[in-house]
């Protein structure tokens, strides 16, 4: 099959109509940094390409009633430059800044990174740690799903062929909260993450009042680490607690990746990556500074 039609729309409505019309025969293209390669390799064979990179409506980042909404067609570069993102959400900016190279970040979008379903997607762990919801639209209606349940398998997500991911939203961060992110890449640019960890924290009286942790590149898709979270929540922050949390985390990863290439390394390295991400989150939460 060959692409015989491409559309470039400026209204979300128009895209939804096209999706409704072409369904399985169509593919959405935003930044194109993944799909162009998939097209070249013959891994996807749509008849119709629908370009959403001109949908200004979903290219912005807004704050509405204590929630932050990121349009799915926002590029990593615009996320990095956004004035809407408070300082203690730095983990989100850090994750965006470690995607590929400047050229890729100028084109690639947040929505694309999510919908592509890669376990190594850099922006997913921080969004998971923020308890993000996805706003998904079709021609008739709109639904909201937690990001956590959106991933079905490696490269497979809960998005139907007539649907468009339009927004990613989460509660805005408070002064005593912080989001940290640490990625282990094997070089400083253009590195696919080997492990990434995002940590969301709320500090109160020297305790982890709330803690949410998400891991990337250690399984079929990025996931929350609820066992580690439960272990650390509501406890006084001490070096011993952090050490014990890191060891628990390491055991969980070792079990999850059992028998897979690199499991020994990842379960070891996760300790350092986790502590680094946790340290950044703690620093941001203490600093407040919205």
């Amino acid at each position: 099959m060959e692409i015989n039609k491409t559309f470039q729309e400026t209204e979300v409505e128009a895209v939804l109509s096209l999706l409704d019309q072409y369904q399985d025969n169509s593919k959405i293209i935003a930044g194109g940094t993944d799909i162009i390669i998939q097209l070249h390799q013959g891994r996807v064979n749509p008849e119709v390409l629908i370009d959403i990179s001109n949908l200004n409506e979903i290219k912005e980042i807004k704050q509405i009633e204590g929630r932050i909404l990121i349009g799915s067609a926002t590029t990593f570069t615009s996320l990095m430059k956004s004035q809407v993102i408070p300082k203690n959400l730095w983990g989100l900016i850090e994750a965006a800044s470690q995607v590929g190279s400047p050229q890729i970040r100028n084109a690639a979008t947040i929505g694309g990174n999510i919908c592509n379903g890669s376990p190594a997607a850099d922006i997913v762990p921080p969004l998971l740690a923020l308890n993000s919801q996805l706003v998904i639209a079709n021609k008739m209606t709109e639904r909201k799903v937690p990001l956590e349940t959106f991933f079905i398998d490696k490269g497979k997500v809960d998005l139907k062929n007539n649907e468009l991911l339009s927004y990613i939203e989460f509660e805005n961060i408070k002064e005593n909260q912080g989001l940290g992110f640490t990625k282990l890449g094997l070089r400083k640019a253009l590195a696919i993450s080997r492990i990434s960890v995002a940590v969301f924290l709320e500090m109160k009286d020297g305790c982890f009042n709330e803690i949410r942790i998400a891991t990337g590149s250690c399984g079929k898709f990025a996931i929350r680490e609820k066992e580690v979270e439960d272990f650390m929540r509501n406890k006084q922050v001490t070096d011993e607690l952090i050490e014990a949390g890191a060891n628990l985390y390491s055991n969980i990863i070792l079990k999850r990746l059992a028998g897979r290439h690199g499991s020994d390394y990842k379960s070891e390295a996760i300790k350092g990556i986790f502590k680094d991400g946790l340290g950044k989150a703690t620093h941001l939460a203490k600093k407040g500074g919205v």
């Binding site: 070089r187 640019a189 253009l190 020994d264 350092g272």
Partner: protein
């Protein structure tokens, strides 16, 4: 925890094919009708700057600006064999061949200038800016163009062409004792690097580096620096990144997404020290440094890793995976 360490790696390198293998470069120098000079040589430019420095050598011998040299290479129909762009031999071997061809051309031009100027000796003649003149009476002069014209009239429109050939000294080593003089000349180089090792992830970051490189003579210092920068980056890739992932003879990492080479961000600032100690047998003393600038990088980094975390790595590339394993093993 991040630990820092320093290490050096020093090397010496024998230029050319060595060990008795014939190592010959040939070149042709030609006086063109417009007074420019063409050099024909089979040397290959692979980005190392051979075209530039080989042209500089000819221009220097003939006292003409670089723009007056027409440099023809890589065309087997028109150029004589100058061996491979390998073994860091083009500067030394082909440089010598071009210098000899240019000197032979200079002698021919002097001979023709003596006739043209109706003097009885070439003693006191000089060359500059495409002219031959008598040093004690500079207005007595003849241009390269006039000499080319005269030669062409006397020789049925032919141009003045001369050859030059250089054979490097290389003898076979004694197979029993390993003794002998396999190469000439040798080049010396030292790298110093500082690394930061993350003991929890095994990641190695090169934070600072310096290279002191013996070049004989730097015909083009900027190109020497470029060679050092390139060799260092390749050495860093060789030491800590580039992993074919061979498993039972099969390459697992066969794309640039998993066969990693360093990016600009992975390469720290490199201080370059050019050591000039002219080699008697080399063209203007210059020796090649293509390979030498890469060789010392790995031992320097491995020594720095040892200094940082006390672990001797004996296999490259030192991937974070291998290093973390070794660090943990050493701690047990």
């Amino acid at each position: 925890m991040k630990k820092r360490g320093k290490g050096i790696g020093s090397i010496f390198y024998g230029t050319g094919y060595g060990n008795g293998f014939p190592d010959v470069s040939n070149a042709i120098a030609e006086l063109l009708p417009d007074g420019k000079v063409a050099i024909y040589v089979g040397a290959t430019e692979v980005g190392q700057g051979a075209k530039t420095i080989l042209s500089q050598i000819a221009a220097e011998v003939l006292g003409i600006p670089l723009q007056q040299i027409l440099f023809v290479c890589e065309d087997t129909a028109t150029t004589p064999d100058a061996g491979t762009a390998a073994a860091s031999r083009q500067t030394y071997n082909t440089g010598n061949a071009i210098k000899i061809a240019s000197e032979n051309l200079r002698e021919e031009i002097y001979r023709l200038a003596v006739e043209h100027l109706k003097i009885n000796s070439k003693v006191g003649l000089k060359m500059a800016d495409g002219k031959v003149y008598l040093n004690s009476f500079p207005s007595l002069a003849v241009t390269f163009k006039e000499i080319a014209d005269t030669f062409s009239k006397q020789n049925k429109r032919k141009t003045l062409r001369v050859e030059g050939s250089f054979t490097a000294l290389t003898t076979k080593m004694d197979e029993e004792t390993g003794q002998g003089a396999p190469y000439w000349p040798y080049t010396f180089s030292v790298y110093g690097v500082e690394v930061e090792v993350d003991t929890e992830t095994g990641l190695v970051e090169i934070t600072k580096a310096v290279c002191a490189q013996d070049v004989g003579r730097a015909i083009n210092p900027k190109l020497v620096e470029g060679q050092i920068d390139g060799g260092f980056a390749m050495g860093v890739g060789y030491t800590i990144f580039e992993d074919l992932g061979l498993q039972k003879g099969e390459m697992k990492n066969r794309r640039f997404s998993n066969y990693l080479i360093p990016t600009a961000l992975d390469i720290p600032e490199l201080e370059k020290i050019i050591i000039e100690s002219p080699e008697e047998t080399a063209p203007y003393g210059a020796k090649g440094i293509g390979e030498p600038v890469m060789i010392g990088v790995a031992p320097a980094i491995l020594n720095a890793i040892y200094d940082a975390v006390g672990v001797r790595m004996t296999e490259i590339p030192v991937t974070p995976e291998k290093l973390l394993k070794a660090i943990n093993k050493a701690e047990e």
